[in-house]
């Protein structure tokens, strides 16, 4: 998939749409900021100095300090290292598991399909993110619990997507052609069917990451997600809410970070989708 995109991009047959380029730029900016930002910023994100709490923006603290006197800009940037990897991971495991289950259901049908489809129905009968909240609670708050709980519920979307794609693809002639050549079904599924379902899966993954980062921050906002003192945007919004009247940016800025990241990734997904379809 990536090779194909790279190959096509190299050939320059069709330039990436503007949407995708904007999205890619935003994503790259976040990743670079996440990698290099903490090295460039002189402050320790967890170092409190309560005597210097709630300072307005200044030459030293460009975005001021938070309620414990920590440099707010540093925490905004360091949170990239928390929110992004967890969101990407929380969507990655369900992608792997969901795609595998969906592909098996779609390819082999019969009992496999029935079992997977009924399990998916069951999960979807739940208000899934409430279920996720409750699962995280049952497992104990934290990143690992979040990823596990996200996997339990989010595989369904990937499974449905993969099942549909595989069912569409398996009736195509190249799959039959592969069967005639005597390749085992397992090999056909993994090397001929699935690679063709990957672009759509990857696009779905990107929008799922957006969802996951929002859900993660929501849980942290509710106090069930990432625990203090770790810098996390949802948690920072919750901690900034008491100071809305005097220090509105404490609640506003982390939300903007989330929003711009989500918008960037959504644009990238949309743009790639348009590009692959055209």
């Amino acid at each position: 998939m990536m090779a194909r995109i790279a190959q096509r991009a190299r050939r320059g047959a069709r330039p990436l749409p503007m949407k995708a380029r904007i999205g890619l730029t935003i994503l790259a900016a976040y990743i670079l900021a996440g990698i290099f930002g903490p090295m460039l910023l002189p402050f320790d994100p967890d170092k409190t100095d309560i005597l210097r709490r709630l300072k307005p923006p200044s030459n030293v603290h460009w975005l001021g300090t938070d309620q414990l006197g920590r440099d707010f800009l540093t925490r905004l940037v360091v949170a990239i290292r928390v929110d992004l990897p967890i969101a990407f991971a929380a969507a990655f495991f369900p992608m792997v598991i969901g795609t595998a289950l969906g592909a098996i259901a779609g390819y082999y049908g019969k009992l496999a399909d029935t079992v997977v489809s009924r399990a998916a129905d069951l999960v979807q009968a739940f208000p899934v993110y409430v279920f996720l909240l409750v699962l995280v609670f049952a497992l104990g708050a934290g990143a690992t619990s979040f990823i596990v709980a996200a996997t339990v519920i989010a595989w369904v979307g990937y499974a449905r997507l993969a099942r549909g794609e595989v069912m569409r693809l398996k009736s195509l002639e190249f799959v039959e052609a592969a069967r005639v050549t005597g390749l085992p079904e397992r090999v056909i599924l993994t090397t001929h069917v699935l690679p063709n379902a990957l672009p759509q899966t990857l696009i779905y993954y990107m929008s799922d990451v957006v969802l996951m980062v929002l859900v993660l921050s929501s849980l942290s906002f509710l106090g069930v997600g990432i625990q203090p003192p770790t810098a996390e945007w949802g948690r920072m919004i919750a901690e900034g809410q008491p100071f809305l009247r005097s220090h509105w940016w404490l609640a506003a800025a982390p939300g903007l970070m989330l929003m711009v990241f989500g918008t960037g990734l959504s644009l990238l997904a949309d743009g790639l989708d348009d590009w692959l379809r055209s």
Binding site: A125, F126, P127, V130, L132, V134, L214, L258
Partner: protein
């Protein structure tokens, strides 16, 4: 298949689903790492306390026995007793239901209104500036956390104007209505982008349709075309979206209740989670899951009337 047979079949399908939901709700207790009774009591609970919790939750018995007891009690309207307040869970749910229903109803109406308006506007101006602008706003809307939207509305609307309560549910009908405006608006901003995407796509396809072209050719006004030809298709899309989105909607509702301190089921759930009050968590989870199931069911039945073709498949 006739419609009544379809509805009957659909009703019967919910029975195993609800049974499955209950299994999952029961299983919640069992995914707690280690000893669930110990986890609920807190690491510090005495052995007697833990034993008592185990007794209360029926953890001494086999899973099947627990399940049968839970389902049996649930059918009689008994979802257990809060380990914290000793209040029956059904009573807690009853007390907390009103704000949640207000929020969901008002939020849903506002979402549909917002989604319809934006979609029509975007579809009618397809590939023009307005469409792109609205499309951009939709993407941004998809990327904003609901609680943050709520806080920003507090900051930008409630604080400067002073016209809306910052939290709480108000008193009396008008008080409730006033208190629900900003939460419902937050809800709509969070929920409508997904609806807009689906609805705009459908409307764009419909506007390309021959009969719409024809209607235009014979001089029907745009609003007549909209009302006569498109509203039924649009309604179908919206019903489907409500059905698909009901799960996320409930989560958004929980988050909004917390943001605006609405004393609804969502807040009760979050509080119960904070207090490790398992029967309440189970009860509310079950309630919301049943709600989702019935919304799905209702949407399918509704669709079978508006679009009989679905019955035939």
């Amino acid at each position: 298949m006739t419609r009544s047979r379809y509805i009957l079949k659909r009703l019967l399908q919910t029975i195993p689903l609800i049974a499955g939901i209950m299994v999952l709700v029961m299983l919640l207790l069992h995914v707690v790492p280690g000893d669930p009774a110990r986890a609920i009591g807190g690491m510090a609970a005495s052995d007697e306390t833990v034993e008592q919790i185990r007794e209360e939750l029926g953890l001494n018995r086999s899973f099947v026995a627990q399940y049968i007891a839970y389902v049996g009690n649930a059918l009689q309207g008994d979802l257990g007793i809060s380990t914290r307040s000793r209040q029956p869970v059904t009573e807690i749910i009853g007390e907390r239901l009103a704000p949640t229903l207000w929020l969901l109803t008002a939020g849903m109406i506002l979402s549909i209104v917002l989604a319809s308006a934006v979609s029509v506007l975007a579809a009618r101006n397809k590939d023009r500036a307005a469409d792109y602008a609205l499309g951009g706003l939709t993407v941004i809307g998809l990327s904003m956390p609901a609680y943050w939207v709520g806080i920003m509305l507090l900051l930008l609307v409630a604080l400067p104007t002073g016209a809306f309560p910052i939290s709480g549910f108000g008193k009396g009908f008008w008080g409730h209505l006033n208190a629900i405006i900003l939460p419902a608006l937050t809800f709509a901003i969070a929920i409508s982008p997904v609806m807009i995407r689906a609805l705009r796509a459908k409307l764009v396809a419909l506007y390309r349709n021959d009969f719409v072209m024809m209607s235009r050719a014979v001089g029907l006004s745009e609003s007549t075309i909209l009302a006569r030809h498109l509203s039924r298709h649009a309604a179908l899309v919206l019903i489907t979206m409500v059905s698909v989105q009901v799960g996320p909607m409930i989560f958004v509702g929980v988050v909004i209740e917390k943001t605006f301190a609405l004393p609804g089921l969502g807040q009760a759930l979050v509080n119960a989670v904070a207090q490790r009050d398992f029967p309440v968590v189970q009860g509310i989870t079950l309630t919301t899951a049943l709600f989702v199931t019935f919304v799905h069911l209702g949407a399918d039945i509704f669709t079978s009337f508006v679009n009989p073709r679905t019955v035939l498949e």
